[in-house]
């Protein structure tokens, strides 16, 4: 089936009309809700479309995930909610979910004929706001607007809570600021905002029609500036107001910064949490997990506990990572043993071959690298820090679940790890399926994650953007390919499907496999940063460092921002590439972009090209992942920096791993990442 509308323009146009005047919106809402439905089954698609139309929604249907992503990208504010099937041949629904969460931060509803607990849990961990069991009844669709409203409300709440928002000011400012916001904002929103200003702001905010706030695009440049400002102030003292002043970006509001800061903090926390769990995760991974399905009860419990308490025990992290990698449902943190992961992958997706391969690597390698990105070889310091940050990680995970972005950072980390592994294994394909970017795998931070992220990106077109989103959203995620972990593995290889390549650079979604090399390196960088961060005594420091890392890269080099048309903060990628030299970056980003748009068919080719370019870039300018701060602790970074090329990175990782951890099996790419190996 072809998408009913060529682009989102149609629905956007009509929906704009509906939403135009502020006063019209509330009355009609939820009528006119702009829904994008993605399902490869034409029968289901037609039925869903009819049902949604019967609910008076604006429907755009799409039978391929890539098309959906490009529709979403072309029309940033063209849709209010996305409904996607879980099982699709070209891209795993969870990966799409992650990407959308990262890049566009739209509510996504998953649906499937599969009502198994694991799958539903996966939806949760990947950040789906709801899960519908097929056959979907129209009654179930009638209420999906609640997710749009809820998300807006949460966003508002986030703004309020983040940073130092003056009480009185907060309510007033968002409205005003929104109007000034740099991101495109449809007129209707503004008018509704204005109305809001006049009345009680808080109440108004609850109004669904006025909840929409303009999206700020956290470009690489912007993110770099942000990170620089944060680092300058010190993560402890970094308050949105001061950051805003330091950044001195016209049109940027304190709320934007506050929201971004919050995400960034989560990201950093996640990174640190991952490192802690890394060691424990490894162990848990090794435990044989049978199936795709629920990870061992322990894992499952951990994950759930994590989700519940917000504290992610190491095991949970591992699980999450594993989950991310293996696409398993949110299993407990314990990283799934390779075997399981393999099962997961295969179960999930026939394309998971990569994953499986990777998994094997993972399993073969020391358990340390929880494949998922949990830095297995983390140095003792890291491990310690990881443990310490377990809680924070847990929190992150939890958050991740709710927002793909959050988890994405973790996932990215994990993904990085994975991708790295993949890189090693599949030097050819830049598609590193590896990154279990899926939200479930927040643990990516293993450092590999950084690299991994890159990988995944390629594989999943969407990922790339996701990556960016991640950056924007989680700020720390820079290099984390949010791609679903499982997806990452499987998908990363098939480049064709994902313009991911471009993602790496532009979208910040390292996931994209295209730039797997670059990504991986970038990922590495990020991951390194993260790890470096981990090393630091304080998690806070880590955060900063991480941030710095990514940003450093970008800061050092001229932001390629221009090149990347990535909407979200591609920073991470950019950072890397920028280091290389803006020129190079441009090429890459341009390439990436081209790859994106064009690409789907030639994703592979592009990806490779991208990778090469990326790797060139990277090799040329070893990413100085580490921030000044990190430099002491991040031996790893140094390692990474030295080996930028994909192969280089991988080998570096492996070397490290082997060197530090001893018998790190080369296969286990992730292990290579392990921070532990990196001599401080």
């Amino acid at each position: 089936m072809n998408p009913s509308n060529g682009k989102g323009s149609m629905p956007t146009a009509s929906s704009s009309a509906a939403w135009k005047a502020g006063d019209v919106v509330p009355d009609q809402f939820p009528a006119g809700l702009r829904v994008l439905v993605v399902d490869d089954d034409p029968t289901c698609l037609v039925i869903l479309e009819k049902m949604l139309r019967a609910c008076r929604y604006e429907v755009t249907k799409c039978n391929r995930a890539e098309i959906a992503l490009s529709l979403l990208r072309e029309n940033k504010n063209g849709f209010d909610i996305v409904i996607s099937d879980v099982h699709m041949p070209d891209m795993d629904g969870f990966k799409l979910l992650e990407d959308i969460g990262l890049e566009m931060d739209l509510p996504v509803i998953m649906m499937s004929a599969d009502d198994g607990k694991n799958v539903v849990m996966k939806g949760v961990t990947h950040g789906a706001c709801d899960y519908l069991i097929k056959p979907v009844r129209i009654e179930a669709l009638k209420n999906i607007w609640q997710h749009v409203v809820r998300k807006r409300k949460n966003e508002w709440r986030e703004l309020e809570q983040s940073g130092s928002v003056e009480e009185g000011d907060r309510q007033q400012k968002p409205c005003d600021d929104l109007d000034y916001s740099s991101s495109a904002n449809e007129g209707n929103w503004k008018s509704s905002k204005k109305r809001k200003d006049e009345e009680e702001e808080t109440e108004e905010r609850d109004d669904s029609s006025t909840l929409k706030k303009p999206r700020v695009v956290w470009s690489v440049e912007l993110h770099q500036q942000f990170v620089a400002a944060v680092n300058q102030l010190g993560i402890d003292k970094a308050v949105p107001k001061k950051i805003l002043e330091l950044m001195n970006v016209p049109g940027l509001t304190r709320e934007n910064v506050a929201s971004h800061l919050q995400k960034y903090r989560l990201y950093l926390r996640r990174l640190s949490g991952v490192s802690q769990h890394h060691s424990s995760l490894n162990n848990s991974f090794m435990s044989p997990e049978a199936s795709f399905g629920p990870m061992s009860s322990l894992n499952g419990l951990d994950l759930q506990t994590l989700a519940v308490t917000g504290q992610l025990p190491a095991q949970s992290l591992a699980n999450l990572q594993a989950a991310g990698l293996g696409r398993s449902t949110a299993k407990s943190g314990i990283p799934m043993p390779l075997v399981d992961q393999r099962n997961l992958f295969s179960f999930e997706n026939p394309k998971s071959r990569f994953v499986e391969g990777q998994q094997q690597h993972l399993s073969s390698s020391k358990p340390m690298n929880l494949l998922h990105g949990i830095p297995t070889t983390m140095e003792p310091k890291q491990l310690a820090s990881l443990h310490q940050s377990a809680q924070s990680l847990g929190n992150m995970n939890v958050q991740v679940n709710s927002h793909g972005a959050q988890s994405s950072s973790l996932l990215m980390q994990m993904a990085k790890t994975q991708s790295r592994g993949h890189i090693l294994n599949e030097s050819a394909g830049s598609h590193l399926p590896s990154l279990p970017s899926s939200i479930g795998q927040p643990i990516m931070s293993n450092g590999i994650a950084g690299g991994v992220i890159g990988r995944n990106e390629i594989g999943d077109n969407g990922r790339g953007t996701g990556y960016n989103n991640q950056v924007a959203q989680t700020s720390s995620m820079l290099s984390f390919p949010m791609n679903h972990t499982t997806e990452l593995v499987g998908n990363s290889f098939p480049i064709g499907s994902t313009p991911g390549i471009s993602n790496v650079t532009s979208k910040g979604a390292f996931h994209e496999e295209v730039s797997s090399e670059i990504k991986s390196s970038a990922g590495f960088v990020s991951s390194y940063d993260i790890f470096n961060d981990l090393h630091p005594e304080k998690s806070q420091e880590w955060e900063l460092q991480n941030v710095g890392l990514h940003f450093n890269a970008s800061q050092n080099a001229n932001p390629v921002q221009g090149n990347l048309d990535v909407s979200p903060s591609v920073l991470v990628h950019q950072g890397y590439s920028s280091r290389q030299g803006s020129g190079q970056n441009r090429n890459i980003s341009a390439l990436g972009r081209t790859m994106f748009s064009g690409v789907e068919a030639t994703g592979q080719g592009n990806a490779q090209i991208m990778d090469q370019q990326l790797s060139n870039l990277i090799v040329d300018n070893p990413v100085r992942v580490k921030y000044e701060r990190f430099s002491d602790t991040s031996s790893q970074n140094a390692l990474f920096a030295d080996h930028f090329g994909q192969e280089d990175l991988m080998s570096a990782l492996l070397k490290q791993q082997q060197g530090n951890t001893g018998p790190a099996e080369p296969d286990f790419d992730f292990d290579g990442y392990s921070i532990d190996n990196i001599p401080v």
Binding site: D41, T43, C44, V46, A113, P135
Partner: protein, 152 residues
């Protein structure tokens, strides 16, 4: 009259689908979506289903001829097929799908093949019956009374 008799006949035919377990509640959902804007919506959807799912069935058929059997792939195909069968309310077909997937999970190739034959049979029976049903519905034209018996 003739027309009323036709309608009655169609009515009974439809009822028998539910009574015999060929169709379930989901089919009614489709019927409820039918309106003046889409007067033949149900028929369109069913036609689409048969066209699309025949491809999947072919894939399964071919996969079943392979040796050794790739249960994972078979399961994936069947999941796909089950999804669309479910969406039109093909109850018996769906049941066979579930059975098939069980055999896949158990790695029982023999069971898979047997179930698949059964599935194809049910699939064909339903197709024939629905074709007749739609044909007669169109011939009979709109009914005088908007009767739409609910299941149970």
């Amino acid at each position: 009259m003739e027309r009323n008799q036709m309608h009655k006949h169609i009515f009974l035919m439809r009822q028998s689908f539910f009574d015999q377990g060929l169709l379930d509640e989901q089919f009614i959902q489709l019927e409820e979506l039918q309106d003046d804007a889409n007067p033949n919506f149900v028929e369109e959807v069913v036609t689409l289903y048969y066209r699309d799912s025949s491809r999947t069935l072919l894939n399964i058929e071919q996969s079943l001829e392979k040796n050794p059997l790739d249960f994972n792939k078979l399961d994936n195909y069947m999941h796909q097929f089950k999804g669309s069968s479910t969406s039109i309310g093909a109850k018996k077909v769906k049941a066979e799908c579930t059975q098939f997937r069980e055999y896949c999970r158990a790695g029982n190739g023999e069971g898979c093949m047997r179930t698949f034959q059964q599935l194809k049979k049910e699939y064909a029976i339903l197709k024939k019956k629905l074709e007749t049903y739609f044909q007669q519905t169109r011939q009979a034209g709109p009914s005088e009374t908007a009767c739409r018996p609910r299941m149970n």
